[in-house]
Structures are given as C-alpha cells and as structure tokens.
C-alpha cells in the first residue's frame, strides 16, 4: 500500500490490466495526449504500444461500436470517452447493441466491454461540456454502471469491470482525480454492486454518488458538530446498486438523504428515493430528501456556476429538513 491519487490509481489499474491480459486494449480520444485524460492514462501508449492504445478519430459511434465488436470477438476493450457529453453520439451502440446482445442471444455471447466516461464539469465550460448522464444508462437493462469515489475503488472497480463478462460503464469525475488514499500495489477487484459505509451514524443515512460521497462525509463532519450523527454510504455502483446496504441503514436511522450531482427528475436519486420510500415505508420518519442539480443545463459564468453545483452545505440543509420533520411528527413514528 502506498498513497495514490484517484487519477494515478486509474492509470495503475490500466497498466496492470494491460500487462496481465493481452486481450485488454484501449480506444478513444486523447490517449496519446499529455493532458486529455487528466493524467489518468499518461504514457500508456509508450508502455504498451500504439497498437493497443488507439487514440481515435472523432468518431464516437463507430469507435464504441468497434470496441463492442472486438469484445464479442474475444477481446477485453476499454473504450474511453473523455467527456460523457460526447458519448451521447454512441448511444446507439451502447443502448441498442451492447446492452441487448446477451439477452438477444440467450446468453450464448456476451459483451465484455468497459465503457469509460468522464464527468468533466466546472471551469465555465457550460451546457455541452459538463453533463453527468449516468442516470440515462442506469435505466437500461443489460448495462452495469459503476461510479467509484475513492482511489482504491477506482482501481478495484476498473479491474472488476474488465473481468465482468458484461458491458460496464465506468464513470469517473475529474473533480475526484486528486483524492488520495492508500491503494494496494497488486491488482484486485472491488465487487460491482456493493456500496460501502464510510461513516457509521444513527440519525440519518446520507447516500452519496461519486463525488457527492466526499461532500457527504464533509457534511457528516459539520453535522456532528451540531450533534447530528449521520451515516454515510458511498454507493460506488449505480447498477446494480446495493439495496441491502442502503435499506439496512435507513431502517436503522429512519431518515435518508440522496446526494447526486446530476439532474433530479427521473434520475438515480429518484430511483433510490422511490425504492427507499417503498421498502422502508414503515421505518421512515421523514420524507427522503434529494440533493441534486437543479433541472437546468450547466451555466458558465462563475457566479452562476458556483451556485449550480450542490455543496456539503446543501446536504447539511437537507439533513436538517429531515431532522426537523422528525420533531414535527415524533408522535406518529411507527
């Protein structure tokens, strides 16, 4: 174990996977660039050759489709989209093709592809260069979706995604790249579909998705000062998501806040909220709160941009609402 940043952990996972398995290769935009992937893929072309590290033309659809075909033909491709926004051009190969293939052919073939997409927001980039679209893919049967928030999971989930016989969307957020923690040197897998409790608490369950898991931890610290004892869950996998872990927590605390830095309507936060409200119906003391983006595109101007992204303070406020609710309804609690 040694401390690695999230970006370095991704890079290490790629290097070890490439070294270990000749079927693994990468394709996508920016792979030969010194800065495109924010350090998370540096010099892989130098170390593994440009035959296996294909920096591609601006052809998101065909490059993604090509990787799907290579997966069907026995390879283990990782296709890289340096921004999730661009990946919309590959919606057809991902949703119509990769997601359906196993089912269509009754499991006789499957598509062991990793589709890596980066949420690359902030910096006044605006509406077409900021989107966090994971919820769209969460809706599609046949896709798995992982969103690590910590360096060790970033490594372990990439290995698990490559090992999985199915299409896995691996979604990382550039705001995470400098997060540093101890990461084992050897290759290992973090199981897909398992959340992790980052902080134990008894008053409220905060479920954080991707970068929001860090803000949830920060919020929990602030709340502790106010005497509120929050449990923080880092969801890690969006599909399948760890219902057991989340529901156990909510059944214990009676309150839930979902924090997702994406749009609210019909998003991941809706699914978690709906499921919790139904499955922990008797245990909930207050309505499930959702901390999300407002339902608007991303602005550019700095003032607007600052106000756009949810903060730890927003989580604190949401928790406060659930706590206040408790007081109002104390007598009625089941």
């Amino acid at each position: 174990m040694r401390p690695l940043s999230y970006g370095q952990a991704i890079r290490e996972a790629h290097a070890q996977l490439l070294a270990r398995d000749p079927r693994v290769f990468l394709a996508g935009q920016g792979l030969w660039s010194p800065w495109y992937a924010g350090g998370s893929l540096d010099n892989l072309d130098r170390d593994f050759g440009r035959d296996r590290i294909l920096d591609s033309p601006v052809s998101e659809n065909a490059v993604t489709g090509m990787c799907i075909g290579a997966a069907l033909a026995g390879m283990r491709p990782i296709v890289f989209h340096p921004r999730m926004d661009f990946m919309l051009l590959a919606a057809d190969p991902i949703i119509n093709q990769a997601a359906n293939w196993s089912y269509l052919f009754a499991g006789r073939v499957s598509v062991p592809i990793v589709i890596r997409a980066v949420i690359n927001r902030g910096g006044e980039q605006g509406a077409q260069h900021s989107q966090a679209l994971h919820s769209l893919f969460m809706h599609i049967p046949g896709l798995k979706v992982v969103m690590p928030s910590a360096a060790a999971d970033a490594k372990g989930l990439l290995a698990a995604a490559v090992a999985d016989p199915n299409p896995v969307l691996y979604i990382d957020d550039r705001w995470l790249y400098d997060q540093t923690e101890d990461v084992p040197e050897e290759l290992y897998m973090t199981p897909i579909g398992k959340a992790v409790v980052r902080r134990r608490g008894s008053d409220v369950s905060i479920v954080g998705i991707s970068h929001m898991a860090h803000l949830a931890i920060e919020a929990a610290r602030l709340l502790a000062a106010d005497g509120v004892d929050a449990e923080v869950i880092d969801l890690r996998s969006l599909k399948p998501w760890d219902q057991e872990c989340v529901l156990d927590s909510v059944r214990k605390t009676g309150r839930a806040v979902i924090a997702d830095s994406a749009w609210r309507t019909a998003g991941a936060s809706a699914e978690l909220s709906a499921t919790i409200a139904a499955e922990a119906f008797h245990d909930l003391i207050a309505p499930v709160e959702r901390v999300t983006l407002p339902d608007t595109p991303a602005p550019t101007s700095r003032t607007e941009e600052q106000a756009y992204y949810p903060t730890a303070q927003d989580i604190v406020a949401a928790v406060a609402r659930t706590m206040n609710h408790k007081r109002a309804r104390q007598g009625a609690a089941a």
């Binding site: 659809n61 799907i68 075909g69 009754a106």
Partner: protein, 345 residues
C-alpha cells in the same frame, strides 16, 4: 450488368479462372437451399405460424453464396435485418433458423431474437441485428481483434444500400482504412431502402465509391452472378488476409418480395417501377442452373426440399422457451477472465 467492373479508385481485379462445374453446382445448391428456406418462411408468415417480422432474401442469394464461398469457417460474419441468406451460406443450421423464426427454445438465438437477430458463433456468425448499420462498426471490431491477435481471420459486414446513409458507416470506413483492418464491406445494393428508390435518397448511383474518400477501394459487381461475386470477394478477402486492409464491394441486385413480409411490394401498396419483371429474368439461381446443362437437378431439388421439410418439422416440434426464465440472460455469465484476482481488499 454481366461484367465485374472496378471503379477508378479501386485496384484492378485479379481475374479468377472460371470455376469448375462442381463448384458451380455447390453454389446452386446453396442458393436453391436459401431460396426454398425463404419460400418456406414466406408461407409460415402468410399462415401466421411465424409472427416476427421477416425480411426475405429472395433474389439476392448469389451475394451471400459468392461471398461466403470465399470465407473460412473461422472468418466472422455480421448482418442486419435481411440476413437469413447470410446465415445459411455461412453454415448456420437450417432448423436453428426455422426454430428461431417460430420463436422456439431450439432457435439459433434461443427464441429471443426471431428472424431479425441470428447467431451461430460456431461458424463465425457473431450476430445479425436490425438496427440499420448497427453491426458495421462491430464487424470492424472483430477485424481489429483479429489484427491484434494476428489470427488471420477476416470479418465481413453485409449491409444494404440504405445503410450507407448512416454516418457511422463512414466513420467505420475511415477506421478500417486507418487501422488497415482485415474487413470486407459488402453492400448489397438492391436499389431500395424500404419503399424508397435510391434516386429519392441520393444524387448519384455510385455506392462503390462510398469508401473512396477514406481510401477504402471499391468494386462494383453484378450481385446476381455468383461467380462475379465470388471473384470480387476472393480479391477483397485476399487483400484483408494479407494485411492490405479493407475493401468495399457493391453488389447490384434486387429483392423480389416486399421490404418485410411475404408479399410482393405491389400487394402492400408500394409501386416500384416495373423493375421486378426485368429482375426476375436475372434470377441468380435460374441463370446458373441454365448454365449447368449436364446436371440432372431433379434429385437435388428433391433432396433440398426434404432437408427443408425435415428441418421445419423439427422446428415445429420444438418447445417454446420455458416460462419463468424470462428474466435470464440480461447479463451474461461467462466466466470472468480475470477471476484469479483477489476480490476486494
């Protein structure tokens, strides 16, 4: 259109000596088998026994037969909505096709796909699916896999003239040229995309040049002449296998039936331009048969019909997929390749 002509941009075709009568008979057999299978499926559609949408290949048989004759079993094949012929020519099981069209458990796709989704991985058919152009980039991926592994396989993408209107086919042409992929693009130009004649969709009749901009050479060939198709396919497959990269074949042909279903277009209200009469005379099977004077076809015809009847009977007898397993296979469960990793940390 009796002769194979190469376009300005494309290298000259290597002439291939005339094929032996045995070879020609084998192609006739293959094509006749495809046609009889399609006619059988047409009857199943008309009677309502088959319910999935079926896009029949009747009239285009020489393309599947000629191209697949140039392939090995290990070469991969990718197709679209009109792929019964590709499936059979590459060696897919006849009863597997019928069973699939009837929605049976024993279908080549386990009754999950129907006519429009066929698979026979044992003979290199890695998938035919009906999203137009959907498998074209996938075929490039199989070619890339072969290139990376050096396994000598060639990938073939079958698609129609309308498919060239999807932009990602052009993206794929560029990728194929750039990476020198062992890939053959087979465009079956039957002049129509659904109800639209090509003149309603494009300015020029030049599909053989679809790859020119991307440096993929193109060859135009009479798609109703199995020898011409084979000759062009051998050329393209040879280029691919020897590392020279992709080729595009434009095979000119015509479908005899409507876009989908058993009827001719006229029945369903699409009036094509009287071309059918003309194209019926260019019957790839009848014309080949006429050349094989010495052959007594009667026993062959009977043998094919018997095979078809038996296969159909088998498919009819097969069960529907068992209830209660509808939720299976959303995810595959082939063993993870990296299972030796320690799990979690």
């Amino acid at each position: 259109m009796p002769s194979t002509s190469s376009t300005a941009a494309s290298p000259a075709l290597v002439p291939i000596p005339p094929q032996s009568p045995e070879w020609l008979l084998a192609r006739w057999w293959e094509m006749q088998r495809i046609r009889r299978a399609e006619e059988t499926i047409a009857l199943l559609v008309e009677s309502g026994e088959a319910r999935c949408p079926c896009h029949l290949y009747i009239g285009q048989e020489a393309i599947a037969s000629g191209v697949c004759a140039a392939l090995t079993r290990e070469d991969t094949l990718w197709g679209g909505h009109r792929s019964h012929g590709h499936y059979l020519a590459k060696g897919g099981s006849l009863t597997g096709l019928f069973a699939e069209v009837l929605g049976k458990e024993t279908g080549c796709s386990g009754g999950r796909g129907g006519s429009m989704h066929l698979l026979a991985e044992d003979v290199g058919i890695l998938g035919t699916v009906p999203i137009v152009a959907g498998t074209v980039p996938l075929a490039a991926g199989a070619a890339l896999a072969s290139k990376l592994r050096g396994d000598g396989r060639v990938a073939v993408a079958f698609f129609g003239d309308g498919t060239l209107e999807e932009g990602h086919v052009h993206e794929t042409l560029n990728l194929a040229a750039l990476y020198r992929l062992p890939l053959v693009f087979v465009c079956e130009n039957n002049l129509y995309s659904s109800h639209l004649h090509w003149e309603e969709r494009r300015i020029a009749d030049n599909l053989d040049q679809a790859g020119t901009f991307h440096s993929v050479p193109g060859v135009r060939v009479d798609g109703n002449d199995v020898e011409s198709v084979y000759s062009a396919a051998r050329f393209a497959v040879g280029r691919a296998r020897s590392g020279l990269g992709p080729t595009l074949l434009e095979c000119r042909t015509f479908r005899w039936r409507g876009h989908v279903g058993a009827s001719t277009d006229i029945d369903v209200g699409v009036h094509r331009r009287g071309e059918l009469t003309e194209w019926l005379e260019r019957d790839p099977i009848g014309n080949l048969k006429a050349r094989l004077h010495d052959v007594n076809f009667a026993p062959h015809i009977a043998a094919i019909d018997t095979e078809i009847l038996n296969a159909l009977e088998q498919a009819r007898q097969a069960p529907f997929p068992p209830a209660g397993r509808r939720l299976e296979h959303v995810f595959g469960n082939r063993l993870p390749s990296l299972r030796e990793f320690p799990c979690d940390h």
